[in-house]
């Protein structure tokens, strides 16, 4: 992979970040037009992301220094296969969720004027989108801190948007955990700066030696990011926050926001420190991930409310992602494990967003989401339930979905690396997820004769849930080009002590 002149003109990244920021400003000023701006901005950003993916796919990774200042002084941005993929999935899921939100937040008739629909969803969502795009492109650890914070605050504000007590308490707990995470991350950055005097990811990778300061920084930054990515012991804030948030927001949180922290961990462990250096410590996230898969699934099995079930399923599915660290420690399985993790990220993003939107439709349609009383939901919301089923198939990891490809890659990587318990965990996780997905579905599928009150759900909301589910299905058939994109490595300095990727 010889990266041609990486600084091919600047604009490839500017509009992806400046676009949503400009849209947010426009919405803050002209609030009534927010939805229109939102959809327009969504289209533009999706187009830009697609163009960036094509650019990275054939030209290899691209890199740029902002303002023309060279590495240690200025801030570097970089787009390799991983960031282009994440940008693409954020655009795809974000675009469809924007359509859902346009229908969800429109002031439908009969809404009480005293509690107007929050049109300020749009600027907050644009800030979140800008933060995600900036985070996926950043190659500077302090810049990552600022984007992490921008993302955290907008996510918290979106969670508390409905202003109900449950949502506000959950948002508050989420904020405090997120701040603690960002702080320990910042302390890690300060330590690295103190020890090596540079903030660029590339120059760090070149100079990193396993000095005590570097290991302490790795520990602090990883702890902070694991807290924000809701890894097992530090996940308690996620279920209430994702369940209490409005439907489009919980979809965004579960599908994208939680993955951003995991993305940073990948950058840290694979690009800055290199998997060889972190092999010893890789077992910790691995074990925690395995426990998360089992514990999360068990909690999902006993959840009473549908959104709580889906939120615990997020905790469980996140556990899978962290299996990449121990698997990547083994030389042979590194490539497969890397592709497995990213493929899991994008397949889970589509499927989880679809499931949350479908759960949102159930909440609106039935007025509640208590699983026991949702019998015969298939008859009232056929499109949403079909979307739920198709997305459920991808969450479980049954073919022909994207989830299956990820599960297949994980199992082969685990067997290749000789980590038999991890392979067993992946397979057991699939069985447990079948249990809790079909626990709801067997009730929804039941044939109920008497008609129960089910108010109309806007067709755009039902079809967007199905669209996302079909994306998860399509990911099952388009694996080679997508995995080819992920293998475009970062344009780091050749001298970088890159344990690196395939």
């Amino acid at each position: 992979m010889i990266a041609p002149d990486p600084t091919i003109g600047d604009p490839w990244w500017v509009w992806v970040i400046a676009g949503p920021l400009a849209a947010a400003c426009a919405m803050a000023v002209f609030r009534k037009l927010s939805a229109a701006f939102g959809l327009l901005a969504g289209l533009i950003i999706a187009g830009l992301a697609a163009r960036l993916i094509l650019l990275v796919a054939e030209a290899g990774a691209v890199k740029t220094e902002i303002g023309g200042w060279a590495a240690p002084l200025g801030i570097e941005l970089m787009a390799d296969g991983l960031s282009a993929g994440m940008l693409g999935i954020t655009a795809l899921v974000g675009m469809i969720i924007s359509i859902y939100a346009a229908a969800y937040f429109r002031p439908h008739d009969g809404a009480d004027p005293s509690n107007p629909p929050p049109t300020l969803f749009w600027p907050l969502w644009m800030f979140l989108w800008a933060a995600l795009n900036a985070l996926f492109l950043s190659a500077d650890i302090f810049n990552m801190y600022v984007t992490l914070e921008l993302m955290g605050l907008s996510a918290v504000a979106l969670t508390a948007l409905s202003r109900e007590p449950a949502a506000v308490s959950a948002a508050l707990r989420y904020l405090l955990v997120s701040l603690l995470g960002s702080l320990s991350y910042l302390m890690g950055v300060a330590l690295l700066y103190g020890a090596f005097g540079t903030l660029g990811l590339a120059s760090l990778a070149a100079e990193l030696t396993p000095a005590p300061a570097a290991l302490a920084a790795l520990a602090l930054m990883s702890a902070g990011l694991m807290m924000k990515a809701a890894l097992f012991p530090l996940h308690f804030w996620l279920p209430p926050a994702h369940a209490a948030a409005p439907a489009p927001v919980s979809a965004l949180l579960s599908a994208l926001v939680v993955k951003a922290s995991f993305y940073l961990l990948l950058r840290l462990w694979f690009d800055a420190f290199g998997p060889a250096a972190t092999a010893a410590a890789a077992l910790i996230p691995g074990v925690l991930g395995a426990v998360a898969v089992l514990w999360g699934s068990v909690q999902a099995l006993s959840a009473q409310r549908l959104k709580m079930l889906v939120a615990y399923s997020t905790v469980a599915q996140l556990g899978y992602l962290f299996l990449v660290f121990p698997l990547a420690a083994a030389e042979g399985a590194r490539g497969t494990a890397w592709c497995a993790a990213i493929y899991f990220v994008i397949a889970h993003a589509c499927a989880k967003a679809a499931v949350f939107l479908a759960a949102g439709n159930v909440l609106i349609g039935f007025g509640h989401d208590r699983i026991e009383e949702l019998r015969g939901a298939v008859q009232d919301l056929p499109v949403s339930m079909f979307g739920f089923a198709v997305a459920g198939v991808s969450l479980i990891g049954l073919p022909p979905s994207g989830g299956f490809i990820a599960k297949w890659l994980f199992v082969t990587a685990a067997i290749d690396a000789g980590q038999w318990p991890l392979a067993a965990v992946v397979v057991a996780g699939g069985l447990l997820s079948t249990a809790y997905i079909f626990r709801f579905f067997s009730r929804a599928f039941a044939h109920v004769t008497e008609k129960h009150s089910c108010c109309r759900v806007h067709p755009a909301m039902e079809w967007s849930a199905l669209a996302l589910a079909l994306c998860a299905l399509a990911l099952g058939l388009t694996a080679p080009p997508v995995i080819g994109l992920f293998q475009v490595g970062p344009p780091l300095l050749e001298t970088a002590a890159m344990g690196g990727r395939p």
Binding site: F142, A160, V168, L175, L176, L179, L183, L186, M187, Y193
Partner: protein, 102 residues
């Protein structure tokens, strides 16, 4: 025991006091306060890193990071306080009687 090292240790001490407080504090407001204490600890540490440069001018990059950190801390604290007000008001109004711990 050069002064910058001394300040760095003080910064680290502040940071751990803040983090300890954030984890064990019962009341929400106290947790926001400990977050600010921890924040200032990190900033003190950064400034200490800046003062290790010989010569009259300290290293400006940590200063810029501190400034950015302060603004971010202000925004986060404002949002946290607002949420506490809303929660306090809504719990008082709906009298759920939930204990003060989040």
């Amino acid at each position: 025991m050069t002064p910058p090292l001394l300040y760095a240790l003080a910064g680290v001490a502040l940071f751990s006091i803040g983090v300890g407080g954030l984890i064990t504090a019962a009341h929400l407001l106290r947790q926001v306060l400990s977050f600010n204490v921890a924040g200032s600890g990190v900033f003190l540490f950064l400034v200490a890193m800046a003062y290790r440069t010989p010569g009259p001018f300290p290293d400006p990059v940590p200063h810029a990071m501190v400034l950015t950190g302060i603004v971010v801390a202000v925004s986060a604290t404002a949002l946290a306080l607002l949420l506490i007000c809303i929660r306090h008001e809504s719990t008082a109004r709906s009298a759920t009687g939930e204990d003060d711990r989040p």
